[in-house]
């Protein structure tokens, strides 16, 4: 082997010896010493573990460098927008908590808000506060999942066990109120399904302390980890302008240094009466995205603590007509889902089904910027980029 390469380099102008052993392995050396390599197309997914489901990325490689990356989506398209047109609003709430299955309650709230706005429905105070509480716990649940999975993708197996330890506790508590572990369907147009069970707030307070105490473990395990830093710092940077251009939101946007968060900039429910910390990054690289994600858990715990003790007594839902109908017109509600801005654009013709329900899901737009992020990166960094643009495939394809 050494001989062949040696003889090749002596040929000066480059080229291979025809018929030499291992001919196919030989490469031509140009004048600057750059190896010219053959272009190669590589399919990542749709069944790659780093794609969290069925996302496929077709990557054109020049050596190890990504020349062009094209995400291919739609493997999980379930036609939610069409289905929503054949459902009434009660049923839609059960439908939408499935597109992003890691943030079920946050999705439910968006639809309920849109319908309530069109019906000009005054939601009881207590319901609004409980909604905020549940939204924030949903956010913690979601983020813990990604804290675990991102570590796993980079080769650290411990964080995912830690994350599921907390997730289990939170899910158990949520289950006590909603009856569900994943698809809560706890929200209703006009309020909530039912009031919190006795002892929920106490359990919630306790969990805040536990989760906050354990957050330090994640920082120690990942953010301060030499290998983690080496694999994520400076990898896949994103600029604010590009993020805005592509509709990128959530931790991915906040990592670029913008404190854009619908809870703060266009508050809904009772967020205007709460202080919502919005962590931001500076360079928008993978490390920043991840640290913002961890920061958001902390921020959510902050908000949960503010909510404790401020939930007023009273009913949690209003009496609705037997058939809920949104009046004719259209509205757009944007909420801050765990993965970014979740918008529901609701067009109604006055019937019990929406005429059009556009689900503006954060994952779809966050993924759409992937070609920009991956271009020029090394193949080995792809996982660190893909894993830090937090997305759920169901939320991409709907």
């Amino acid at each position: 082997m050494t001989d062949t390469i040696g003889s090749m380099t002596t040929m000066g102008g480059g080229g291979v010896i025809p018929g030499a052993p291992g001919e196919s392995l030989l490469v031509e050396v140009r004048d600057e010493g750059q190896l010219s390599t053959q272009d190669m197309t590589l399919n990542i997914g749709p069944q790659h573990p780093a794609t969290h489901g069925v996302l496929r990325v077709v990557i054109d490689l020049d050596g190890e460098k990504i020349v062009r990356a094209q995400p291919v989506i739609g493997y999980m398209h379930r036609g939610f927008e069409k289905l929503a047109e054949a459902r009434d609003y009660r049923q839609i709430i059960a439908l939408v908590n499935r597109h992003d299955w890691l943030s079920a309650f946050n999705n439910e709230v968006g639809v309920a808000l849109a319908v309530e706005r069109m019906m000009e429905l005054e939601v009881p105070e207590r319901a609004s506060w409980i909604r905020v509480l549940m939204c924030e716990w949903g956010r913690v649940l979601n983020h813990l999942m990604f804290v675990g999975s991102f570590g796993l993708e980079l080769g650290a197996i411990t964080p995912v066990f830690f994350a599921f330890r907390e997730r289990e506790d939170i899910q158990h508590m949520m289950e006590s109120a909603t009856g569900g572990r994943l698809h809560f369907t706890y929200c209703r147009v006009g309020g909530l399904k039912e009031d919190l069970p006795r002892g929920f707030l106490r359990a919630s307070e306790q969990l805040v302390r536990i989760v906050r105490g354990r957050l330090q473990e994640y920082r120690d395990l990942l953010l301060d980890n030499e290998i983690f830093i080496a694999r994520t710092k400076g990898i896949g940077p994103l600029s604010t302008a590009v993020a805005f251009d592509y509709g990128v939101t959530g931790p991915t946007l906040q990592a670029t240094g913008v404190a854009e968060d619908a809870r703060v900039t266009e508050p809904y429910m009772v967020y205007d009466r709460l202080h919502v910390p919005v962590p931001t990054g500076t360079t928008g690289d993978s490390y920043d995205r991840f640290s913002v994600l961890l920061g958001r858990i902390d921020a959510s715990l902050d908000v949960i603590e503010q909510v404790h003790g401020r939930i007023p007594p009273g009913p949690v839902n209003v009496k609705l007509p037997k058939i809920v109908k949104a009046p004719e017109g259209e509205t757009y509600v944007r909420t801050e889902a765990p993965l970014g801005q979740l918008g529901y654009y609701l067009v109604s013709d006055g019937k019990k089904n929406p005429w059009r329900l556009k689900m503006r899901t954060p994952s779809f737009y966050n993924i759409s910027v992937l070609p920009r992020l991956l271009e020029g990166a090394l193949l080995s960094d792809m996982i660190a980029i893909l894993g830090s643009v937090f997305f759920v495939v169901g939320d991409v394809d709907r």
Partner: protein, 519 residues
């Protein structure tokens, strides 16, 4: 809650400018876009600016670059069906510095046949995928787009534009929602379901397009289902004819008091059973059986040789006498070797199929539940004559009702025997541990002496229930129904040799003959 409509709360954010109210923003946009803005409207806090199609790209660029507007954030773009006018393309933009939001709307030229819109991908990069999605869902072509194909969310050879209103949601077309969704909807829900609700959207659209093809195939499906129901009906009629002769034979045999005669009588009387299965009334296609065959709903009065005739036979009298002695029930059906297998009876299925439209998938009901239902009857919780009402409203519960009554067909052909059954049941509290013990009404006594017959009862009854319960073709809406393993679904598929032979050997011939009529 409602205050979210007015984004005035954003002012609470430190250092933030209060966003313009939508009216002021509308005024500002009108000034900036001049003639390009056709009109503005505000709906529930959402400002919509209608833009001329030709100026759409220019307007978007202006919104992005203008100092006063500063719409730097691309929110989303999507299509909206606009009825006979064609399709809207809407773009939502947001200003992160000024915190205002606008919807630019454009009616795509080209109507429903060839909607075309200018691409704004060169203005907002995020529009690339959004426009691909709009193309995928509505067939709107975006000029100057870097590449609308391959199709983004659907498969590459997908035909049709799914979100158009004339693209029908097939699960709802083939099979409307099987129950009443709302209390007051019961009467009209079938007509209301599915299809475009704006009449304008119905007739329009690409007639040559795949959506029409989709509708056509849906019609075929419905047609096929109907034909299948017809076939089943014919078969059922044949069965009824046979049943009559059989009953006569049973009476003859009963006079001789032979065991075979009793078995035959049992078979004959259980044949009454499916007649009582109420077809699903909420099924729009299945209204005929109610009117054409009154005996299917009223087993007692309309059966000519019903109550009195059978109550008069010797076997009925024997049964009534034997039941109170308590020793005839020794052969509990649960102990019989065949009773844990549902025994096929094509006749029962045929009658059930006649009532409800044939279905393509499984339904709740296994024979274990059937036996459970029998126990209920025995404990006297459920009155014997509850069938028709039970089965009509909730298809999921039809199975339950049928199972409950199936093993105790005492009120089948006679009110008198039903009364007898009632009396004996109240007299006998001790039989609760027997899984299915037919109530010792007149003609059921032979059933108790023949261990096979009750097994047949429970098995067939569940099958009837399976077929009577309509199944949602899409499967997505079956969540509230009890999910039981589906054993067999097709009436034709169920004449397996071993079970069929065990019940009535000549029925299989009949079934085969009925099968020959099929095209």
């Amino acid at each position: 809650m409602t205050d979210t409509a007015v984004p005035a709360n954003a002012a609470s954010m430190p250092g933030a400018q209060p966003p313009l109210p939508p009216e002021a923003l509308a005024e500002q946009i009108r000034r900036a876009l001049e003639d390009d803005a056709l009109s503005t409207s505000i709906s529930y806090g959402l400002l919509t600016v209608d833009v001329a199609p030709a100026a759409f790209g220019r307007a978007a660029r202006l919104c992005k670059t203008s100092e006063a507007l500063a719409f730097d954030f691309f929110d989303f773009l999507c299509g909206v069906d606009a009825g006979e006018d064609g399709f809207f393309v809407v773009v939502h933009l947001y200003s992160t510095t000024r915190r205002h939001h606008v919807q630019l709307r454009m009616l795509a030229p080209g109507g429903r046949d060839e909607p075309v819109a200018p691409s704004i991908t060169s203005v907002y990069g995020g529009a690339n995928w959004s426009e691909r999605e709009a193309y995928d869902m509505y067939g709107i072509t975006f000029t100057d787009h870097p590449g609308l194909l391959p199709r983004m969310l659907t498969v590459e050879n997908f035909e049709g534009w799914p979100l158009r209103k004339d693209f029908l949601l097939m699960t709802r077309e083939v099979k409307p929602w099987p129950g009443a969704k709302e209390p007051e909807e019961r009467k009209d829900h079938a007509g209301e379901e599915g299809g475009p609700e704006r009449p304008a959207a119905t007739g329009v659209g690409d007639a040559s397009g795949p959506s029409t093809a989709g509708a056509g195939s849906g019609m075929d499906k419905a047609e096929a289902a109907k034909a299948k129901a017809e076939r089943a009906k014919a078969k059922a009629a044949e069965m009824r004819a046979k049943k009559a002769t059989e009953r006569a034979a049973a009476q003859q045999a009963a006079a001789g008091s032979s065991v075979e005669g009793e078995a035959a009588a049992a078979a004959a009387t259980t044949d009454q059973e499916p007649g009582r299965t109420e077809p699903d009334r909420t099924e729009p296609d299945s209204t005929e059986p109610d009117s054409t065959e009154p005996d299917s709903t009223e087993p007692d009065s309309t059966e000519p040789d019903g109550a009195a005739a059978i109550a008069d036979t010797d076997i009925a009298k024997d049964a009534a006498a034997g039941a109170v002695q308590g020793d005839v029930a020794a052969g509990a059906p649960g102990d019989s070797p065949t009773s844990d297998q549902p025994i096929d009876n094509p006749e029962h299925e045929a009658v059930a199929a006649e009532g409800g439209a044939p279905t393509a998938s499984g339904a709740p009901g296994v024979e274990a539940e059937g036996r459970h239902g029998g126990a209920e009857v025995q404990s006297g919780e459920r009155p014997a004559a509850d069938t028709p009402g039970m089965t009509s409203d909730r298809p999921g519960h039809a199975a339950e009702g049928l199972q409950a009554t199936a093993p105790a067909p005492q009120d089948g052909p006679g009110g008198a025997t039903a009364a007898a059954a009632k009396v004996t049941r109240t007299d006998e509290p001790g039989g609760a541990d027997v899984p299915v013990r037919p109530a010792p009404g007149s003609e059921n006594a032979p059933v108790a002496t023949d261990p096979q017959a009750p097994g047949q009862d429970s098995g067939t009854a569940t099958e009837v229930a399976q077929d009577a319960a309509p199944i949602d073709a899409g499967g997505t809406d079956a969540a509230d129904r009890s999910a039981a393993p589906d054993t067999r679904t097709d009436p034709e598929a169920s004449d397996s040799p071993e079970t069929g032979a065990g019940v009535q050997p000549d029925q299989r011939d009949l079934d085969r003959r009925a099968g020959e009529d099929k095209p």
